[in-house]
């Protein structure tokens, strides 16, 4: 097809907003830079990857050290995307790499610069289930010491599933399932098709040879009763059927 007949592709653009930080240096600049350095020392990565706008409105064209301000900020890894409140024609700014600024923008108040030294937020512990929606292959190890593991798929021979809580396999369980690893005797193992190589709850285990053949390839659950692993058929309790 000749080029002129080819339809011009339509360009689509999506919006994305970033918060730009505005720095307003004040004289004397040496002290201001020292303050900035102290801030960076406490929060080393705060400026990393953040766009910064330099606001010169507190400074005058003859402020001592103005010429060195821009290179000093660049040297500290601060990425200046715009300069406002000043004029590129100021003699002190003659050697600055004055960026083309951005229009508009909305002031959004002071931004707290976090201290690295401050204690991290306390994570609220959460009994988390690990849900996996793909088959677990031979040799793969899936571990969730915190809670349950739910697998929507099969667990291959030679794979190993280890959970602090219970293990649910909505598919054939052909590998190993180790539940209640941190001492939870009430953990259970459920599967749509019992073909496991090894089953363990709270440190008690049985191997494939010890599984009653009646339950093999059947839906089953494994419960620890009196320090013994018991394989039971997995059947829902009889519900009274509601009328449609």
């Amino acid at each position: 097809m000749p080029d002129e007949l080819r339809p011009t592709p339509k360009i689509r653009a999506r919006g994305r907003s970033f918060l730009a930080l505005v720095l307003s240096p004040e004289p004397p600049l040496a002290d201001w830079l020292a303050g900035l350095d102290a801030q960076i020392a406490r929060s080393s990565t705060f400026f990393a990857g953040k766009p910064v706008i330099l606001d010169l409105s507190l400074l005058a064209p003859d402020t001592v050290g103005l010429a060195e301000l821009y290179p000093a900020l660049c040297a500290r890894g601060i990425r200046i995307i715009g300069i406002e409140g000043g004029n590129p024609n100021w003699a002190a700014c003659a050697r600055w790499d004055w960026p083309a600024g951005f229009l508009g923008g909305r002031a959004s108040g002071a931004v707290d610069i976090p201290d690295d030294a401050a204690p991290p937020r306390v994570e609220v512990p959460r009994a988390s289930s690990l849900i996996i929606e793909q088959p677990i292959r031979s040799g793969q190890v899936i571990m969730n010491p915190e809670g349950d593991i739910i697998i929507l798929g099969s667990v291959g021979s030679g794979a190993e599933i280890t959970a602090g809580g219970s293990i649910h396999v909505y598919g054939p369980l052909r590998g190993r399932a180790i539940a209640g690893m941190n001492g939870q005797p009430d953990a259970r193992i459920f599967t749509h098709s019992m073909q496991a190589e090894l089953l363990a709850i709270d440190g008690y285990y049985i191997t494939a040879d010890e599984i009653d053949p009646r339950y093999v390839e059947q839906p089953a659950q494994i419960v620890l009763t009196n320090d013994t692993l018991v394989v039971q058929p997995l059947v829902a309790p009889a519900f009274t059927r509601r009328k449609a």
Binding site: G139, V141, G158, A159, E160, L198, T207
Partner: protein, 270 residues
């Protein structure tokens, strides 16, 4: 004094695991204490071929890392009581094998058994190196194909340089086990001839195992061919190889199918 044997080849799929299992059974059937050790960490198969996969709890890596005692990891064969298997781990990789750990386990196995047969992984990397390191004897499994023969040549070079015996100035005893040998294809010139393989590798021949459906069937049944059909040609070839390992001098032949009376009567009519 225990003998440590490594079954190795370089190339994959030539019959290392099958040969380990078949020879292990053949040696144990004479009443000697035999252990077969799976060194193929991450891709274990020996437990399946030996029919022990349903009884694996601990493995070689657990023993090496001190998480289980050797006695806990050894699985005794249900059919031959002098035969045991030490399975590999499927969930780890060969980096979990440490030189010190392997040395400790091999020392313990030497004290317990008459024969320690190590099934090497394919390749020439860490797993294969550690499998062969402590061996007194090596069985180099080779198919009569150029690629297999070249890989075997490489392995023989390593047996002569990187093993404990070789480093101590000694020499590891090497035996060639030619597997998947098809007399009909060999007659048509589609395979390397036995003489050519022997000439290239120049190590003594331990046996020739004929290609056979029987072997494949045995592997899938979890019963080594020397156990499942001891009268089949491959089983007889393995049994003779085991006797040669014990020092018997036997003439090397290629066992073939014994034709029944009916087969002979109807020869040429089918």
């Amino acid at each position: 004094m225990a003998k440590v044997l490594v079954v190795t080849s370089g190339k994959g799929g030539v019959g290392k695991t099958t040969s380990t299992a078949a020879l292990g059974v053949a040696l144990a059937q004479t009443g000697q204490n035999v252990v077969v050790v799976d060194f193929d960490v991450g891709l274990r198969n020996l437990d399946l071929v030996m029919g022990a996969e349903r009884r694996v709890v601990f493995d070689l890596i657990n023993v090496i890392q001190g998480e289980a005692k050797l006695a806990q990891a050894l699985i005794r064969d249900k059919r031959i009581e002098t035969l045991s298997i030490l399975p590999a781990s499927q969930t780890r990789d060969k980096d979990a094998l440490t030189a010190e750990g392997v040395a400790r386990v091999m020392q313990e196995l030497r004290e317990k058994f008459d024969w320690v047969i190590c099934d090497s992984p394919a390749g020439i990397e860490r797993g294969a190196q550690l499998a062969m390191y402590h061996a007194d004897h090596a069985i180099v499994v080779t198919n009569p194909e150029v690629s297999s023969v070249r890989d075997s040549d490489r392995i023989i070079g390593m047996l002569d340089s990187t093993t404990e015996k070789a480093k101590g100035g000694g020499k590891i005893e090497k035996h060639l086990l030619l597997t998947r040998y098809d007399p009909a294809r060999a007659a048509r010139g589609e395979m390397l001839r036995i003489e050519d393989v022997l000439e290239i590798l120049s190590i003594p021949l331990l046996g020739i195992i004929p290609e056979s459906e029987e072997v494949l069937r045995a592997s899938n049944l979890g019963a080594p061919v020397t156990l499942s059909s001891p009268d089949s040609p491959p089983a007889r070839a393995y049994a003779e190889a085991a006797r040669r390992l014990e020092g018997e001098k036997l003439e090397i032949t290629v066992p073939t199918e014994r034709k029944g009376l009916l087969a002979r009567l109807f020869k040429g009519k089918s």
